[in-house]
């Protein structure tokens, strides 16, 4: 991949001497910084980048927390799939649902759900805490304080959770 790009760059910068002119060079850097197309880098400045190790995020707690927060999406997708299988089993009849319920009781399913539960709680908390950054509510000229927006998320969370539990358990 890298070699192919190099060949491309060589083709385009046909006059190598002109390409080495300092002003040209500076211009190309700024082009690179604002370039919209990541595949087109005229003078392949990729070569000057510092290589990042793949596990750059394990050494610092904030970085690890960032990756863990991003990985909560895997737990979210996991539950979405479990819910889909549950609906499918429900639609196939009592026996299929019994089998699905038996799977839910296996140690593997319990462990997976326990881990996923911790992750989705982490997802909810980080999501609600970030929501004031994404949502700016103004009343007249005043901006609603961040705490109020975050708190209203938590209140909604409690109310919806109670409503869900009530609907499912009393059905």
């Amino acid at each position: 991949m890298g070699e192919r790009r190099w060949a491309k760059g060589e083709e385009r910068g046909a006059n190598a001497l002109l390409a080495l002119h300092p002003s040209h060079f500076r211009l190309n850097w700024s082009k690179f910084m604002t370039n919209q197309n990541p595949h087109y880098t005229k003078h392949h400045p990729r070569w000057y980048r510092v290589r990042m190790p793949i596990f750059w995020w394990v050494h610092k707690w904030v970085h690890l927390k960032f990756i863990l927060r991003e990985l909560t999406s895997v737990a979210v997708a996991f539950y979405a799939l479990v819910l889909l299988f549950q609906i499918r089993a429900l639609s196939q009849g009592p026996e299929a649902y019994e089998n699905f319920f038996a799977w839910l009781k296996t140690p593997l399913a319990i462990i997976l759900h326990a881990i996923a539960f911790l992750f989705v709680i982490f997802h909810s908390v980080t999501w609600f805490n970030l929501s004031p950054r994404a949502l700016v509510v103004r009343i007249g000229k005043n901006r609603l304080p961040d705490v109020v927006i975050a708190a209203s998320n938590y209140v909604a969370w409690i109310i919806f959770s109670a409503a869900m539990a009530w609907i499912i358990l009393t059905s």
Binding site: S73, S91, I168
Partner: protein, 115 residues
Amino acid sequence: MKKTTKPFWWGLFGAGGAMSALFIPILLFLTGLAIPLGWIEAPRYEALLALVKHPLTRLFIFALISLSLFHWAHRFRYTLYDGLQLKHLNELVAVICYGSAMVVTLVAGYTLWSI
């Protein structure tokens, strides 16, 4: 200005993030932990089927499954991009992530439609 599809995917990501943050913890706790472990009595099959057959419940479950997966697709895509630095596979990763979310959305739509 160059048109991109980024705001569209971000919108699905945001909607899915909010919906999953509000509803998944309680649902996951009930169906995955409290009921299988016997802390709470399991609802009867007929009762659950009747609940799921309600059009509003179907709509809710469809939105929850679909948006949650688009939320995952967007977030996981950038986790691979930043975390594992699979930048050279950017397009492939995007197609696999959003594509699988679309496929599961279709399957969920069909399943919920044909209960």
